[in-house]
Structures are given as structure tokens and as C-alpha cells.
Symmetry: C2
Subunit: 400 residues, 2 copies
């Protein structure tokens, strides 16, 4: 039997999805699983997006242009103008989710064994995509003590090597919920300029900042040709399944190169593009209401978590995630145990084990990532489950 | 300004799409462009697929499982049973088009600088995906003289090196239209077995064989764990825009590894999966009628082409492509000239230049790939345009 590749072997499984089979088994046993493991919100998709798809009247579903439908690109450029980001539709490629935008950017800027510096903990799939590309992800540690603020800029500078090609940020951050300030981003800007690096920033949670406005890397002056923005419709309008994202850069070479990768895969999904274009007409009120809802959920769950003995979570400033420290031996064991051996009043809770968001084997071992995307009653149940679980989990490190 | 990657630089633009801007400009001048460059058919999509999408009634568009919806995988396994291919739904991953299935397979089996042997001319994006993966494509030449039959098996053997990991076929073939016989496939089987290679086969045109039935690599005995099937709904039901394909293998390690890459990109498109699942209920008559229609178009256009002085095309046995030799200096120049400087009665014709389907710079220089996916009247017009164009094109090599 021929062997799979080293890349395939070292490719990490998703920490968010790898316990899915245990959740499925729990559900088959009749247990309600409260999914705090995955950023799949429960808010309604704006009806205009669904309706547009239902109006489809072509006689067949054809390829779209590889860069995405022109009408969508133009309308999206207009969305950015309203968000105070001045770009042209020619700076935009429509991609199959934000995931594909990351891949195209990586392919376009990274050679084999090149390095990308990323604050740790990080969205685990960045690590997956780096592996896929044959490049290396170099972590710079942020800490729960500072609420996962940007690490000291000296730490980034120490991580630089001749192979460093880019710094990658996620702002608002998945998995920590931290929102980088203008001042922090300007420090990064100076570094990027000094060493002529690319700066990639994933801003898919832009609309979900709870305590202060968002500042986009696209507004950093002097690094216009270094900056690549990753975006997605998924979370903004709760349409994770349409698989429509965008790669945005004022660097024409990056766009032209990424377009070659886009041509190879032919086109982004047609139905998703129809939905996305219509969703850009969603009344502004929808996003305000969504952000308010998440803010209330955040306030509730973070306060409840910190009220449990030995549990610690910073107050996230944006997105809908937090990295939470638990009084346990090993988060992966705990998460699996929750699904396989625990229930409280017919329910259990599912988290994403923390170590999947770090490079080191031991890092984040007593942490989980939560996504507070469920309605209040379910969050309440989830907190109850966690409280009870920490009383009886064999690997608990303190007694409740 | 930071530099793009070597991979980005060497990534080939799509020969099928790179002249698109000249076609757009011609259309703006009011000229009808007859698209024989791209496999975008004009047959109706079965209504059941579109209707299923219109029935969408969830309150939001959620992620699907990374492997695709279970109901779709099960129903697709049943389709294969009917096509005499015995596989389980567990051998199937749903992908974002056949393109993504190729990428996942490449990532799973190829290390950096590993080699894949492919008969040449080949579907140009195979070359793109190999470049993306950091692997190398090793061509083995097939010839217009034999109608692009499988090259002698000794040629494959000569191309083997210690880095050879796989042989890749496309059957029915894009771009040549050749359909490999059981006997040819058994020769490949013996080679694959002898050297313990992977055998990847793209069978997206399975239902379009005009002169003899299709034989799938999944039915080759003794290499069950070496074989990876690439498939897609796009051409079968004329739904290129839904972006739903499949990666199929009885090698559990290949499926488990590919699933990790699938998890990193989260999920295939939801609307596309809904359409695909419903399309599997399409009456068998639809595929028979489609195949009959393409067969008539084939007969018409290939005979007409061969009737033009200096033009030569083998009679393709399947798919809806042919590699056609023209009495011209350079197909790329000719194709661009057709769009920029030529028109006949308000129309012109667009082909894909042949050299994009070969590795060598000079190969296929006087060839184009045609896709005979347009209705009879348009094919007739296209032939007229070509006839007239060959009379006046400055780089013609014979006089009409």
C-alpha cells in the first residue's frame, strides 16, 4: 500500500471538529449537546439573502468569473467604503470562504519552508493552512494575564529570520476575543515596514467589537502594498454554509497572482455569491442588534465562568470566543469525558480543547476555547453543566 | 514592496480563462463571442436540483460536516452502485468541486518535489494544482496520430523516478476526448501494482461516452488501496456553479488524511449540496438525452473541422472536448487575434490555446482545445467564423 505524504501525516486535525464523533454518539444516546466548541451562531440569516437565492431563474447554474461576480465585487467595495476602508473592486477577489482567501494569500507569498509569525493562541486552521502550503508558522506567545493583548513588539522582532515573509493577525481575535488597538497595530506597521514583510489580517469579526470601534489594517499608512485583508460573509450574516469570503489587497501583484490560483479552481459558489450580494442590502440595524446580542451573551457567560472556583477568562472585547482556563489536568481528556461519560439533567457541553490553538504540545493544556453563540437559556444550561462537571471530573485539580 | 513567492510566479494562468479580458472587450464592441474555449454547457439543469434549493427553509445557513452531508454521501454511494462501482459512503468525501478533490488528494499523497506522471496533453489545471502543492508533474506524451490513446506503457516506466508517487488519468479525457479502454487501464493497473504507486483518475465525464461503455478505475482488481477517484456534479447535470465534487477511495488512510484538509476549510457549500442531493433523483433519461445531444454535436463539428484544409481533429470518444490542429503559426496569437481583430457577420469564436495543455513551451503551439458545448446553430456559426478566419489570419501557414 503506498504511503501518504509527510504533510498529510503532520496536518493537524481541527481541535474544533475532531471530537465530533463523540458528540454524535452522545446525541444518539439521547443527550443534548450544547455546542460551545464551534462558531456556528443561532441568529437568523437576513431574509433578503435567502430570498435572492430562491429567485434564481437561470436555466442552468454556470461557472462565475474566477474573481467572483463583478456586481458582488463592486457592491462589496461599497460596503468597505461605508466601513471607512477605501478600496476598489479591483482589489477584491471573491473566495470560497475566508479559508480559501488565506490559502490563496499563502500560495502567493510563501515559498516552501518560509515562515509566518502569528500571535499564539491562534485560530487553529492557520496552522493547518501553513502545513498545507509547506511553510512554517512561528508563534509569538500572548498571555491570559494581559487578556491576550498583542505581545511586546520585541518578541516579534526576536522571532524574525531570513525566511520570515509575513505576520498574520486576526482582529477581533479568534480564539481569544481580543481586539487590537490602533496603537498596537501601528507598532506592527512599523515592524512590517522596517523588514518589508507582508501583513495578513483576518477581520471576519469586524462588526463584533463591544467596547471600542474596530481599526482595520487597511487604514495603516505606509504599508499599502504589504497588507492583505482576509474577510468572510459567514459570521457577519450567519451564513457559514454559503462559503463566500474575500481576499483584498492594494498590491496588484498579490491580486494577479492569487487570481491564477483562483482560475485553477474555476470559480466560487454561484448560489453563495447570489446570497452574499443580496445580504449587502441588509439594514444596518441587523448588525447592531447582532452585536448587542453577543455582547449580552458575553457579559453573562464570562461573569458566570469567573464565578466558578478555579475558572478564569479575560473579558473578550470582540468576536464571540474566549480562551478559558479550567481547574483540570488535560482539556482534551476533559472535553472527551464530557461527551462520553457526563451528563447533567440530560445535557452536556462541548468545548474545543485549548492546545489545538497553540503549537507546543503542553500549551493550553488546561484551557478550552468557548464560542458564546447560543441563546441565553442554552448558555445557562452550559454553565450549569460545567459547574457540575468540575465537581465530579476525575482529573479535576481543585475541589468545588 | 515584499516579493510574491516562486510558486506564485511559476503558477500558470489558465489557458481556458486567460484570454477572458479580450472576449469581454469584443463583447463591449458588440461582437458575439462563441465560447468554444470553456466546458460550460448550455443544456438545462434538471429542475429538481434548482427546486430543492428554493425549498430551503432553515432559519440560517449553517456549516455542514467537513466530509459533506451524510445524506448526500449515502445517496451518492447509491449512484455509484447503479453505475456498477461498489463503494461505501465512508469512502466518499464531498468537496468544493472536483478541483478541491484533486487538491486534497495531492496534499495527502505528495511531498514537496514528489512527482505525478500524467499523459500529455492534460487538463491544464492539473499542472496548476501540482505547482500549488509544490510537487512536479511529469508528462508522458500522447499523440494526435493515435487519437491521443494511452502512450505505450514503457513510456510511463521510463518516466518513473524514486520520487514518483502517482499516475494521474482523466477518463473520458479532457482535453482530448479519448476514452481509455479496459485493456489500457489494466496495463496501468499492472504498473501501479508493480511500483506501489497511487492511481488518481478524474472521471467527471463518465456519463458522456459515445462509442463504448465507460470502465472505471474503481473496478480494477488488486489496486483497491492505490486508487483515488475524482468526481464532480458539474458537467453531469450542468451545474458547474454549485461547486460540488467528491474524492473517493477505499484507502482509509487517504480518506482520513484528506478529511483533515477538509476540516481546515470547514465545509463544502450548503446550497450546492442541497442541489446535488436532489439531482441524484434526476430521471436516467436526462443523462441519456444529454449524451445523445453531445454525440450529435461531436459528429457535426468534428466532420466540419476535418473538412477545412489543414485542420485535423481525431474523433473524440467521450467528454465534449477535442484537441484540434490548425494551419497557423501560433495558437495563442491566433486566439487573441480572433477576439481582437476578427469578426464575421458580427461574430467571432473563442478557443483555448493548445500549449496550455502541455508542459513544453513549443508543444501544442498549432493546436487549440475546443469544447463542443453550444447548440447546433452556434457551432455552425463557429465553424463559419473559423473558415473565414483561416483565410485572412496573417499567421496562416497554408492558403484556403
Amino acid at each position: 500500500m503506498p504511503k501518504i505524504s509527510d504533510r498529510g501525516f503532520t496536518m493537524p486535525p481541527s481541535p474544533i471538529r475532531k471530537l465530533a464523533k463523540y458528540a454524535d454518539a452522545a446525541k444518539l444516546r439521547g443527550i443534548e449537546v450544547l455546542h460551545l466548541n464551534i462558531g456556528q451562531p443561532d441568529l437568523l440569516t437576513p431574509q433578503c439573502g435567502i430570498e435572492a437565492v430562491k429567485q434564481f431563474s437561470d436555466s442552468y447554474v454556470s461557472y462565475s468569473p474566477s474573481a467572483g461576480n463583478l456586481s458582488l465585487r463592486k457592491k462589496l467595495a461599497n460596503y468597505y467604503k461605508q466601513a471607512n476602508i477605501d478600496i476598489s473592486y479591483e482589489d477584491i477577489l471573491i473566495t470560497t470562504g475566508g479559508s480559501e482567501a488565506i490559502c490563496f494569500a499563502y500560495y502567493s507569498i510563501l515559498n516552501y519552508a518560509d515562515e509566518v509569525i502569528v500571535p499564539e493562541p491562534f485560530y487553529s486552521n492557520y496552522y493547518g493552512f501553513t502545513t498545507e502550503t509547506g511553510a512554517r508558522m512561528i508563534p509569538v506567545r500572548s498571555s491570559i494575564e494581559t487578556g491576550f493583548a498583542l505581545p511586546q513588539i520585541e518578541e516579534f522582532e526576536k522571532a524574525l529570520t531570513p525566511r520570515t515573509k509575513a505576520i498574520m493577525l486576526c482582529n477581533p481575535n479568534n480564539p481569544t476575543g481580543y481586539v487590537y488597538s490602533k496603537n498596537e497595530l501601528e507598532q506592527i506597521r512599523d515592524l512590517v515596514k522596517k523588514y518589508d514583510l507582508f501583513l495578513m489580517c483576518d477581520e471576519v469579526y469586524r462588526e463584533f467589537c463591544y467596547d471600542s470601534p474596530h481599526y482595520s489594517v487597511m487604514n495603516l499608512k505606509g504599508i499599502e502594498e504589504n497588507t492583505i485583508l482576509i474577510d468572510s460573509f459567514s459570521k457577519r450574516y450567519n451564513v457559514c454554509g454559503i462559503r463566500i469570503g474575500a481576499l483584498i489587497s492594494r498590491n496588484k501583484e498579490v491580486i494577479a497572482t492569487s487570481l491564477k490560483f483562483a482560475q485553477a479552481r474555476l470559480s466560487p459558489p454561484s448560489f453563495g455569491q447570489i446570497a452574499a450580494e443580496a445580504l449587502l442590502d441588509t439594514p444596518a440595524d441587523y448588525l447592531r442588534t447582532s452585536a448587542q446580542e453577543y455582547k449580552e451573551r458575553r457579559n453573562y457567560i464570562i461573569n458566570e465562568l469567573n464565578a466558578i472556583k478555579g475558572v478564569r477568562s479575560p473579558m473578550p472585547k470582540g468576536a464571540f470566543y474566549s480562551i478559558v482556563e479550567l481547574p483540570i489536568d488535560d482539556a482534551e481528556k476533559f472535553c472527551q469525558w464530557l461527551l462520553e461519560e457526563f451528563e447533567f439533567e440530560g445535557s452536556t457541553v462541548m468545548f474545543a480543547p485549548g492546545n489545538g490553538f497553540y503549537t507546543g504540545k503542553k500549551l493550553g493544556e488546561n484551557q478550552v476555547r468557548i464560542a458564546y453563540v447560543l441563546e441565553h437559556d442554552k448558555l445557562k444550561k452550559a454553565i450549569k453543566c460545567l459547574r457540575e462537571a468540575l465537581k465530579v471530573y476525575p482529573g479535576r485539580t481543585i475541589e468545588q
